[in-house]
């Protein structure tokens, strides 16, 4: 149900506020503290509104229901329990009635639907005996189904939920004598985390003079403290990426111009995962040695360098905007042309048509993409490590693993919790919002001819002068990786030296045992993790698509998707606390030292859980392809459930399973967060990404080409995967986040 706000509602709201204020006046006269009376009035206001039939949860988009309620709840928890005063507290008091309203409304709805349920079952006039109920449920569940559900749930609870809870538990671990929320107080108040007042000397950009006398404009960005930096960075990255993504997607989806196919392919190049090395190329591109500096030096006499926070934001925008682009592109493509034609038929055109019909229809897809960018930006480690930007949450969490002691402090756990909270908020928003996603494809029935226009000269000018350079530019990091790997460009600077081209760095990958060990580790772990993840995915996807048990199957479904929303660093923290508590004193304990700790076991499990959603999605799509009647026909002819699954269904959807496994393999072999944290605790068992990271950590440029050739190797893996999935298995290749 959706209501719009009318004039009566405004009067009513005014009236309510008036009552609240009069009562407040009265309470204060009775010498009840202001605060207490506000609390009381909050509840009163909420109940009054509800009785009058107002429910703000149902006024706007449905996703706001749970979203605002949860935001208010957590916000109030932090602000009020942590005794923070001032404007945040006032805002919390303002949110309080909304929270009360939402929760009362929620419970009222629940109670009503329960009532309805019982009423109708009473009207049915049937009393179903408990034994009969149990018998019905157990009848539906063959032993193998039970095994699938119970095993799937157990694995997810033990290796996903418990570690995260463990981290939460440690987040509340405080020195003696301090209140339980002390760690959070620090995160929200300490000047390292939140600094709203900057020094006068701090500037967004500054001129510097190098040793060789060159003048450089250094753009650094401003430091508002770890927490705010992360948030501001994520917000900027998300909004710029969203804007660029929509722009590029719209032009490529709706306009035809010479060279479009190539541009379309180039636009997805940034989605090839090359951990660290692409951010490194961005850093070089925007350094005093880069191409941009050559231009500015020629024009203004000074070079330019984008560094620190600004550098991180730039690198992330370049890496992540294609996520929005691809989501938006497929949304635009999926809009039934007759929708737009109808609008044109009624007189809408141009920008009006776009804002009134096209954008709203494509919005769910776009929003899904942007929120993923938000989560990725928050948890990204590549750019912060390359730019050595320590004043970000992700770097803070990471650096706690590489400290001398190798012991992660509770404060970091609290930081992990805050990061998880932010990511989870985004995820909840997507889940409830993307539920509406289907409306982009209202009419089905065959392919339609896409609406495509030729560009006018203004449009062509825009495309060739702005869009094409932009897309080529964002593809530069990956191109740079390849050039670096063949030593065509030097590790510093940007001069093309074809005469230096060599493939010797690739040989080194395989010939130098100190380097090859990492490749071997990655391949072994990825294969093991993929086998594990595929097995779990089959169990979960089958149970979710076939068993319809209230509460249990939706839970399984959510648990299997949730790793998408949990930042890798949170998983790393969770695993750290989980294994150091539960497996204390065994070789699985991360604190047992770099010779005892068996990192590979922990890594394989972490990988398979983290990348599970990608595999599940593919396998699930397979099960959905199989009409249930196909299965029932086999059961009916006398085949048992396990025989049906292994004999009829799995062979039938093999392509989906293999595609899922291949995608899983790619994302596992390029995984960063747990690899360089947990893996870093046992360097000789660490994977490729750890080696890539360690080259840059040193601060020298030796080995950059070797790392670049590793990046190229990963690109080759991804190309091979795309070939396998798209050409051989005729499936869709899911780029990360799409």
């Amino acid at each position: 149900m959706r209501r719009s706000i009318g004039i009566v509602d405004v009067y009513f709201a005014g009236f309510m506020i008036a009552i609240v204020y009069s009562l407040l006046y009265y309470f204060i006269k009775l010498s009840i503290t202001v605060e207490l009376s506000i609390w009381f009035l909050g509840v009163f206001w909420a109940i009054m509104l509800l009785m009058a039939g107002f429910d703000y949860r149902k006024i706007t988009f449905s996703f706001s229901q749970s979203f605002i309620a949860i935001v208010s709840f957590i916000y109030i928890f932090f602000i009020l329990v942590l005794r923070i005063s001032g404007i945040p507290r006032a805002f919390a008091l303002f949110l309080f009635p909304l929270l009360v309203l939402a929760s009362i409304g929620y419970f009222r709805d629940k109670i009503n639907s329960l009532k309805q349920y019982y009423e109708s079952s009473r009207r049915v006039g049937l009393k179903i005996s408990l034994t009969r109920r149990i018998k019905t449920t157990t009848y539906k569940l063959d032993p193998i189904m039970w095994v699938f559900i119970v095993l799937g749930l157990t694995i997810l609870v033990v290796f996903l939920i418990t570690p995260v809870l463990m981290m939460l538990y440690h987040a509340f671990e405080v020195p003696e004598g301090k209140p339980f929320y002390d760690n959070f107080v620090r995160i929200f108040t300490a000047r390292t985390y939140v600094r709203l007042k900057l020094f006068r000397s701090e500037r967004f950009y500054d001129f510097e003079t190098l040793a060789d006398g060159r003048k450089v404009l250094v753009i650094t960005g401003l430091n508002y403290g770890i927490l705010l930096n992360s948030l501001i960075n994520a917000a900027i990255v998300t909004s710029v990426a969203t804007f660029l993504g929509i722009l590029v997607a719209f032009v490529l989806a709706r306009y035809d111009f010479p060279g479009r196919t190539i541009i379309r392919l180039l636009a997805i190049v940034p989605l090839f995962v090359t951990p660290f090395i692409n951010a490194y190329v961005v850093k070089i591109l925007f350094s005093e040695y880069g191409p941009l500096s050559m231009i500015t030096e020629a024009m203004f006499g000074w070079a330019i360098r984008i560094d620190s926070l600004a550098g991180v934001a730039l690198a992330q925008i370049m890496a992540f905007y294609p996520i929005v682009y691809l989501n938006a592109y497929s949304s635009f493509i999926n809009i039934d042309p007759s929708m737009e034609e109808q609008a044109e038929n009624l007189g809408a055109k141009g920008f009006r048509l776009f804002t009134s019909v096209t954008l709203p229809l494509a919005l769910p897809g776009i929003v899904a993409g942007s929120i993923l960018v938000f989560i990725f930006s928050l948890e990204d480690l590549g750019a912060p490590i390359i730019f050595q930007e320590k004043r970000l949450m992700s770097y803070q969490i990471y650096s706690s693993f590489v400290s001398e002691t190798g012991i992660v402090s509770p404060e970091i756990a609290a930081l992990g919790f805050v990061m998880l909270f932010l990511a989870a908020m985004g995820f909840i928003a997507i889940r409830s919002y993307v539920g509406m996603r289907s409306y982009a494809m209202i009419s089905r029935g065959g392919r339609w001819t896409l609406r495509e226009h030729k560009l006018g000269w203004k449009g062509l000018l825009f495309v060739y002068l702005f869009l094409v350079p932009l897309i080529v530019f964002t593809a530069l990091p990956q191109i740079g990786v390849i050039l670096l790997a063949f030593n065509i460009i030097p590790p510093y600077g940007f001069t093309i030296q074809l005469e230096n081209a060599t493939a010797s760095y690739f040989l080194e990958l395989f010939q130098n045992p100190d380097v090859f060990i990492y490749i071997k580790n990655t391949l072994t772990y990825a294969l093991m993790a993929v086998a594990l993840a595929t097995t779990i995915a089959i169990m979960i996807a089958y149970s979710v698509s076939r068993a319809k048990i209230r509460f249990l199957t939706p839970l399984l479904d959510t648990l299997a998707t949730i790793p998408l929303a949990i930042p890798g660093l949170v998983i790393a923290l969770g695993y750290y606390f989980f294994y150091s508590t539960v497996f204390k004193g065994t070789p699985l304990d991360p604190t047992s030292g770099p010779t005892v700790f068996q990192a590979w076991i922990v890594l394989v499990i972490a990988y398979s859980i983290r990348k599970l959603p990608f595999v599940v999605r593919s396998v699930f799509a397979g099960f959905q392809q199989v009409h249930e009647a196909l299965e029932e026909a086999a059961l009916n002819l006398g085949a048992s459930r396990s025989r049906v699954i292994f004999g009829v269904i799995l062979p039938f959807i093999l392509t989906y399973i293999v595609s899922g496994a291949v995608i899983g393999f790619i994302y596992i072999s390029t995984e960063v967060s747990t690899s360089i944290t947990i893996g870093g605790l046992r360097p000789d068992q660490a994977p490729m990404t750890f080696y890539m990271r360690s080259i840059y950590q040193g601060g020298t440029v030796t080995g950059v080409q070797v790392v670049a050739s590793m990046g190229v190797l990963l690109i080759l893996f991804q190309l091979l995967a795309i070939f396998l999935i798209v050409v051989v298995f005729k499936q869709r290749y899911a780029f990360i986040g799409v």
Partner: protein
């Protein structure tokens, strides 16, 4: 051969009763049809018999064995699904042989015997020569035959057909229903057939059960159900009916006179039971109406109506006319030899032995 008996079977989904206390018995070798509009619970009932659903109340018996909680793969029923459910990755031969291969050990079959039986099924369904094709390479009718062959080859205790003809075109449907009927009689296999098509149901079945909103309203031979509908839903659902409401005015030995306010006269007909309540409905099938030729002397005096033809539609084998009588109108079928046009005034007779009188309160 197997008898199938349902006792008070009830299936509840949340707060919806899909099947409400349904009981019936299917004699061995009988072709039994569950007929009803979509959503009436007929497919659910069939799925309960197959074992894909379990009832919350009541029991299912095959002969005298209680199979309520027997797993579908132990029931030895064979179902033909509405969409045929042929495995697209198996050839026609493999599809048909599947059930036999599953039961290979239990039945002690050799691959040779399986081949023989599949061949028998292929011949039976006139599918010779198609065994190496894949289902997607077959026409709809052929797929239907494969699905039937797959079901028959395992020699099931009960054959279950879930709207098997609904995906075929009209002409093929008529051919197939004849064929199914012949086959079923030839093999003598107990068959339960689900359809929403009343013509199909009546032409094919030994017995029909009419269902609506989860309830079994009536069951009997097609003849019984058509000519002695026990309630208005059945009367309306099977064939076409004119239904007029009225009050019982007079009872004779086997006839009852009902006063119809809309016609302002009495209609005499046969009651479906002796103790009729006051308020009743009169069911007049359009094909029983006779046209009165004024030039010939009248034999009957009752149930004569005069009216004006509102619209007359020539339909080949008959003329369908809507006749305006009093405050209402009746649909009548008249012989195609007559010259009936809109606007004509005609006199019609409703033979009282063919008029059914049904109590109304229950709905």
């Amino acid at each position: 051969m197997t008898r199938v008996r349902l006792e008070n079977v009830t299936k509840v989904y949340g707060s919806v009763i899909a099947v409400n206390k349904v009981s019936f018995e299917v004699e061995s070798g009988e072709l039994f049809t569950l007929l009803g509009p979509s959503g009436c619970g007929k497919t659910t009932t069939l799925r309960i018999i197959a074992g894909f659903e379990v009832p919350e109340h009541g029991r299912v018996f095959f002969d005298d064995e209680d199979v309520t909680y027997l797993k579908p793969y132990r029931r030895n029923t064979a179902m033909v699904f509405q969409n045929y459910a042929l495995w697209p990755h198996m050839t026609v031969f493999d599809n048909i042989a599947y059930g036999l291969r599953i039961k290979k050990k239990k039945l002690g079959l050799t691959e040779e015997e399986i081949k023989k039986r599949v061949k028998w099924a292929l011949e039976l369904m006139k599918l010779d020569g198609l065994e190496n094709r894949y289902p997607l390479q077959l026409s709809g009718g052929q797929q239907q035959r494969v699905a039937l062959a797959r079901a028959l080859v395992v020699e099931p205790r009960v054959l279950l057909l879930d709207e098997p003809l609904s995906n075929l075109d009209a002409k093929l449907r008529i051919e197939m229903r004849e064929e199914i009927k012949k086959l079923q009689k030839k093999l003598g296999i107990t068959t339960i057939y689900v359809t929403h098509d009343q013509v199909e149901a009546m032409s094919i079945s030994d017995k029909i059960a009419v269902m609506n909103q989860g309830k079994l309203l009536q069951y009997g031979t097609p003849h019984e159900v058509y000519f002695r509908p026990q309630n208005l839903f059945v009367a309306d659902f099977l064939g076409r009916s004119n239904i007029l409401y009225g009050v019982v005015s007079e009872k004779q030995e086997e006839y009852v006179a009902v006063h119809i306010p809309e016609l302002d006269m009495d209609i005499i007909g046969v009651p479906i039971k002796q103790d009729l309540p006051k308020k009743v409905a009169v069911v007049i099938r359009p094909e029983i109406v006779e046209l009165i030729d004024d030039r010939k002397p009248l034999i009957h005096r009752d149930n004569i109506l005069e009216g004006r033809v509102d619209i007359a539609m020539f339909q080949g084998e008959k003329i369908e006319a809507r006749v305006n009588v009093g405050k209402t109108s009746l649909v009548v079928y008249l012989p195609n030899t007559l010259n009936i046009i809109s606007g004509m005034n005609i006199k019609i007779l409703l033979p009282k032995k063919n008029i059914i009188i049904i109590p109304t309160e229950e709905t």
